[in-house]
Amino acid sequence: MKKLLFIIVLLLSCVCTMSAQSVVALAGQVMTKDGEPVIGATVQVKGQPGTGVITDTDGHFRLNNLKTGETVTFSYIGYTTINIPVKKNDERMRVVLSEDVKSTDEVVVVGQGTQRKISVVGAITTVSTKDLNTPATSVANMLGGRVPGIISVLRTGEPGNDFSQFWIRGISTFGANASALVLIDGVEGNINDLDPEDIESFSVLKDASATAVYGTRGANGVIIVTTKKGSAGKLNINAKANVGYSYSPRMPEYLRAYDYARLANEAAASRDMDPIFNGVDLALFKNGLDPDLHPDVDWHDTILRDHSWNQQAHLSASGGGQVARYYMSLGFINKEALMKQAKGVNPYSTNVNYRQYNFRANVDVNMTKSTILNLGLETTIVTQNYPGYGNSTDALWQAASNLTPITVPLRYSSGEYPAYGSDNNQISPYVLLNLTGYRNTYRNNTKIRVSIDQDLSKITKGLKASVLFNFDANSYINESRTKWPTLYYASQRKRDGSLDLIKKRDYQSQAYDNSVGADKKYYFEAHLNYDRVFGQDHRTSGLIHFYCEDYTNSENKSLLTAIPKRYVALSSRLTYSYKDTYFSEFNLGYTGSEAFEKGHRFGLFPAISGGWIPSQYEIVKKALPFLNYLKFRGSYGIVGNDRVSGSTRFPYLYLMGAGGSGPWNAGTGLTETQIGSNNLRWEKATKVNLGVDLKMFNEKFDMTVDFFSDVRSGIYQQRASTPAEMGLPSLPWANVGEMKSWGVDGHVSYKQEFGRDTYLVLRANFTQSKNKVTNWEETIKKYPYQRWTGLPYGIPRGLIALGLFKDENEVSESPRQQFESVVRPGDIKYKDVNGDGVVNSDDIVPLKYSSVPQIQYGFAQEFNYKNWNVSVLFEGVARVNYMVGGTGYIPFINKETGNILTIVGDQGQRWTSRDISGDPSTENPNAKFPRLSYGANNNNDQASTFWLRDGSYLRLKYVQISYLLKKPWMQAIGMNSATISLIGDNLWIWDKGDKIFDPAQASGNGATYPLQRVFSLQVNVSF
């Protein structure tokens, strides 16, 4: 209350002072963003030429006898002029001039440094997070559909696991590592640990010219994340908070007891079995009079709420002056899962949640006029909570899809909890969620980064050097406090009418366990940069970069895996451009990795590239005045991928280990435990990129298109084709796999302004990445289509379904299908691909597309009218397939366990024999489900085109409506502006599948945490 009073008084006094015009003096210092004084800047009262002063050698100025209401102008060549209204006496002003960036001088982040945008000849997409002001909690989730060149998939909505997997330009290798190198402020890091709010920009480096400097680490592309830094000027405080309401828009729905039982009887009848349930059973299922032995449980209902809440908050402060500049931030993310904990059972939470705390400080200190010291501190703390059983919520989802409404009741009327078997996966999700205790995990990541930038223009103009040291420490503690209740199963009653309970699982009292781990990383790098213009037209720049890294992880406990991972690299770049029209660039990475044999550790990775901007010619400018900018780019280079062998380290070593002596009983034996891969090298990527950048109509229209190809060789594979007679102790590995990928990515945008503060932006981007395995190490195959070579990577395989058999006649006239002894009408008919008269595993062929989309696209619009802003993003994928099947999808595949989807209950969706239904029309040839069986049917359960689903979709990914509040009274209380936004995420989806679960999840049966639809309310305030 006191505080409030104080603010009101303050407010009033401000209003008072503002009302009268008086004589004041202004004095202070003019500086650049980096805190360097601007010498010789002009400071004058607007409209009064000749009254000004010039700043001295320290950038100081003083103006006396000013009147409030006047405006003072600060200007200097090459910098944007700023106007500051005179309000009150201020002798300690800090005026920051920012460089007047012409579009030709715009700078972007590239590998190991920055470059003028105009001179970039590689394929680099830079995204400023200003364009991504979303409540997203993960950077990875912001890439798909927004950044050209990214193919991403999000498979689960589980808090803490809901991070997208993404690949730059799709999957271009089937080796151990296909993911991009992520560098945060120059050091490899975990992109999901970042608070998106702390990011200044990120650059996606896609071609060889951009990544060659990363040598053996650059083959799969690089993402460079730059975090925010302080700039000189007054204190800037930004606060953001949002709260989100999320729910599952799609989740598999299952039949209830009576319909389930009826369908079970139909399934049995379809295979000439006796009915599973008799009339009494059916009646009891219908009237629910016997909840113990004839229950009707909706298991989703017992463990799920219909919504959950998430919160996110972020506070940052930045500012500084001549001596130092700072950026500090605190972030908090809290995500709860949808699980519904039973009331009153436990005093603790067993729900899944994810909490992330971020702290960051970036401080720049000018030690001398030419030396800047930078200190970066960063800590991320993540805590997660889970129920006692399972490493994620998967166990709960599987249990919920496994248990039918009639398997067991939630709880027997006599009070016991049920389990239909003794295995962990035969227990009800209710028990798993509520009665198995809980687990929590804690982990933290701390980074300390010190760097020194030294301007060496005294030696020669344009020369700069910097060194950086980074220490990275991670640790985790996973704790579990688990227990099990006694679990029973009853299938009948005793003669006295009480339940005949059989104990399935013993009580286990509370047990504690934990696992602890830590890892550390040292990183050191040094840069030497050179950038200079000779004459007016010749620009050259050069870069030499050295770095080394050492990483140890306590989880690696064997002799070999515990060896620190080390890199050392030297790379350089030379550029030359003439008149900003012709560009050439030469990149060279010389990198070494401990993963290879002595003498084979270092590799040279060159890339050359060139660019041409014809729009710089006067003749073009005259002939095509609407054309503002046109650039052709091309690059060619070789990059490497040293992570060839997954978790195995040093596969080149020939290792011996202990063994027995067999029947000879002659003592201990010694045997080869690892056959060394001779001449082990990194995987090599030869990349070609051709691109066009185009801007037209006063730069309103902006377009970039890149065509790329990536030819991989030396992919590390186990030699499947070596003859067994060689007698190698294990199949050797070698750099033998080959793959190529190619495609196109690009974006186009159009911005139209309608007067002040009103504009419309339309953006679209598109990525297509095709690939083909050109050499897959495989054994000799009987039929060419059984090979992996020559096909896209990850393509599913199965039989070609030709529909459902119409009648016995068709069955007997068709090739014999060998999977099941009896094939009947309504069963799936397959194509005899090899024409040998029988359908068997030899007829399995590659099917259409893999579960990673070949095409990803997005289009967005942003409309701003005065203080209102509406932005919309659509995102989509195409050319993607996934296979459905298994328990929870295929009816009765496991007999008494496995839920039945409600769509199976719809007669139009399943084939039913006329002998059972008495109606010929139920023999629907287009049914989604074949003739039912009770238990597995090896004919119908085969992977085939029948169960292959098209995974393409178009999603209304994101809608944001925001209102910018900027009122004078806010300034009076120190507030600059406030933005209030309403945001919807994953609002609608158009797809071709069963619409049972989100096709992006590519799940077989949907028994996994659904992708969430989230509505958030967000407030941003800046002071």
Binding site: L528, Y530, F534, G535, T540, I544, C548, L559, L560, I563, R566, V568, L570, S572, L574, Y590, G592, E594, K598, R601, F602, F650, L653, Y654, L655, M656, G659, G660, S661, G662, P663, W664, N665, A666, G667, T668, G669, L670, T671, E672, G676, S677, N678, N679, R719, A720, S721, T722, P723, A724, E725, M726, G727, L728, P729, P732, A734, T779, I780, K781
Partner: protein, 660 residues
């Protein structure tokens, strides 16, 4: 142009600094030597005698455990896919049975030891190439180690050839691990070439290996083992399956040579005989005998020797020996290997789960190993008559009515049928029958398991007690060859450790006689200079040693003089002497008798009869009601199919005939 020079200068500067990159400090930063310096490498193996010994031991771990003939870990189908018995289960734990009922296919071979044997071969090749590097060995040790390596190489090939016939012979120098698949793909050699290669290696092994081993290392191969196995390979090569077998006339290598020789070569028998004679002439081996004992008030003595059998001292008769114990003690673990002069090459018999298929359920077994009536009928009467010549009374189902015991440990229950009475001693040592007594004398518990009189009636005491109702005997006979009279599978009892003879002297004797019998003209061995011919008196002498040891009458010169008679006698003797010892599978094949023998129906007593229906029980009937009883042999089964996965890795490899 000034700026140009400057550009060039600066460029050169950058280049120069880049060039400095190739310096040693970077390389040493990445060096991992300090972490792995103490690791054993393949090179260090050949420096130290200890490590070399361990490496040889490691190589021998690829040897199949041939004592595992029946159950889960069976090394080959031969144990269950002979015609001696059937088991009611064709499942993963009894994979041998699949071949018997034609459920083996190249895509699903059930047994695929191919690659493992070649792994062993590779190690032997590496050993032979580098063993000389070891300076810590004495000359004697070097020869021994070389001998072991040659023995291993020969043995792995021999195992492959037994199962698959002709196989690829790898070059003596192992291929580098990165040899292109095409270069390392070797075609199968002809069977003749395989034999020559293996015989050559066994010869070198014999030249190098010591004749004797110290007590702790009796299991290691010796000169005798190498020679005996060499002889076995030669005898097999001389046998009809491989010697001019026109069935394989069209089966040829790429260059046109037939995989199986089409020209009958009788001298092969001579070579085999000559090598067998070399083993005999080592004068190291004798048939195992236990001296005769007389009964007293505490214990029963040796069975009375029938009058038809020579009462002279062994080896001219059986007057001084206990035939039952002489034979039984070979298998029941009572004679330590160093004292057993019959053992030439042997393993410890792993009792594990292998024997539980013969024990009655009550004694901790699963009871399913059901010996066929054909096998039982091949055991003679005690006086040497074939069972077919027994009187109706002797074949009768009725109970003898009087108990009896002999050799101090064997008990005959009074309820036994006449057909199981008065049989040759090997019958009692090898076979379990209805009313057979399982003494279980090591049992320390309180249940009534000692002197268990086992009955196989439908309501008999061998029947399953638990839920697995299929675990019952299908013919009324089982094998007790590997059961010591003390043994019981119970935690309150013991199972004695046994030795499993891979080659024993009886085989050398019978092999020598067989080879001589087949020999049409004298054979002069180029190696030894000895000449072997069909010598009737030698044939009688060596054959009768086996007979006398079993307490049976010897054969006469007249019988031996007749080739056909002798051949039949030999086959019968092999069948009984080596029953349940993993011989029959291979013998039937090499003699080309498999088609006839396997395609006989499975016969046995009517085990569906209850105790009250004793007569019905003892009725021999054809059993074909279950899948596992439908025994069948197709010509393709002479050789086992090569696994499809193996074929897919070597494009020059061809499948065995008939397996597609």
């Amino acid at each position: 142009m000034k700026f140009k020079n400057k550009v060039i200068k600066i460029s050169c500067g950058f280049m120069a600094i880049t060039g400095i990159a190739i310096n040693s400090s970077c390389e040493s930063f990445l060096d991992i030597d300090k972490y792995i310096y103490d690791q054993v490498t393949i090179d260090s193996v050949f420096i130290s005698k200890d490590r070399l010994t361990q490496y040889i031991n490691g190589s021998s771990s690829f040897l199949p455990d041939e004592s595992m003939i029946w159950s889960t870990d069976a090394y080959s189908p031969s144990g269950l896919a002979a015609d001696e018995a059937i088991v009611p289960w064709a499942d993963g734990n009894h994979r041998g049975e699949y071949l018997l009922i034609d459920e083996v296919a190249p895509r699903d071979t059930k047994f695929n030891p191919w690659e493992n044997y070649y792994k062993g071969i590779r190690k032997a090749n590496i050993l032979l190439k580098r063993i000389n590097e070891c300076k810590e060995l004495t000359d004697y040790e070097l020869r021994d180690y070389m001998g072991r390596a040659y023995f291993l190489r020969a043995y792995f090939y021999y195992q492959l050839m037994r199962l698959y016939g002709p196989v690829p012979i790898e070059p003596d120098e192992a291929y580098d691990s990165d040899t292109p698949a095409n270069e390392a793909s070797v075609e199968r050699s002809s069977y003749d070439d395989c034999v020559r290669y293996v015989v050559g290696n066994f010869s070198k092994a014999a030249d190098n290996l010591p004749l004797e081993r110290e007590v702790a290392f009796q299991y290691l191969p010796t000169r005798g083992a190498a020679l005996a196995l060499k002889a076995r390979v030669l005898l097999t090569w001389a046998s009809p399956l491989f010697n001019g077998n026109s069935y394989y006339a069209d089966w040829k290598r790429k260059d046109g040579t037939p995989f199986i020789a089409q020209q009958d070569d009788n001298t092969r028998w001579g070579w085999a005989a000559s090598v067998y004679k070399q083993v005999i002439d080592l004068n190291k081996y004798e048939l195992n005998i236990v001296e005769r004992t007389d009964g007293n008030s505490h214990t029963s003595g040796t069975l009375e020797l029938p009058s038809t059998v020579s009462h002279s001292d062994f080896p001219n008769g059986a007057g001084n020996i206990d035939p039952y114990k002489s034979y039984k003690s070979l298998f029941d673990g009572t004679v330590q290997p160093e004292h057993n002069k019959e053992l030439i090459y042997f393993y410890t018999r792993n009792n594990g789960n292998d024997d539980w298929i013969v024990y009655p359920n009550t004694l901790g077994g699963i009871n399913g190993y059901s010996v066929t009536q054909d096998m039982i009928n091949s055991y003679r009467m005690a006086d040497g008559r074939p069972f077919s010549e027994a009187t109706d009374d002797e074949k009768s189902w009725e109970a003898v009515g009087q108990g009896k015991s002999f050799s101090g440990e064997y008990f005959l229950a009074p309820e036994r049928a006449h057909c199981d009475d008065n049989r040759e001693p090997r019958f009692y040592a090898s076979v379990g029958f209805n009313y057979c007594v399982w003494p279980c004398s090591s049992y320390r518990g309180t249940e009534n398991f000692k002197n268990f009189v086992c009955t196989y009636y439908k309501d008999g005491n061998a029947q399953p007690t638990g839920t697995v109702k299929v675990d019952y005997n299908r013919t009324g006979y089982t094998s007790r060859k590997w059961i010591n009279q003390e043994d019981i599978r119970s935690w309150q009892g013991d199972v004695k450790t046994k030795t499993y003879p891979v080659v024993r002297y009886a085989e050398v004797l019978l092999g020598y006689v067989e080879a001589m019998n087949e020999l049409k003209s004298p054979y002069k061995d180029p190696d030894t200079g000895n000449t072997i011919s069909r010598d009737v008196s030698q044939m009688v002498y060596y054959f009768n040693q086996v007979r006398y040891r079993a307490g049976l009458p010897g054969i006469t010169d007249i019988q031996a003089a007749n080739y056909e008679t002798m051949k039949a006698l030999l086959k019968q003797e092999y069948r009984v002497e080596f029953a349940f010892e993993d011989h029959r599978y291979y013998d039937l094949r090499r003699w080309k008798d498999a088609y006839t023998e396997y395609n006989k129906p499975v016969t046995g007593f009517d085990v569906s009869a209850k105790m009250a229906e004793r007569r019905q029980f003892y009725t021999v009937k054809v059993w074909n009601t279950e899948k596992t009883m439908k025994r069948i042999f197709k010509n393709k089964m002479y050789f086992y199919p090569i696994d499809q996965g193996i074929l897919e890795r070597n494009k020059r490899l061809v499948q065995n005939p008939g397996w597609e």
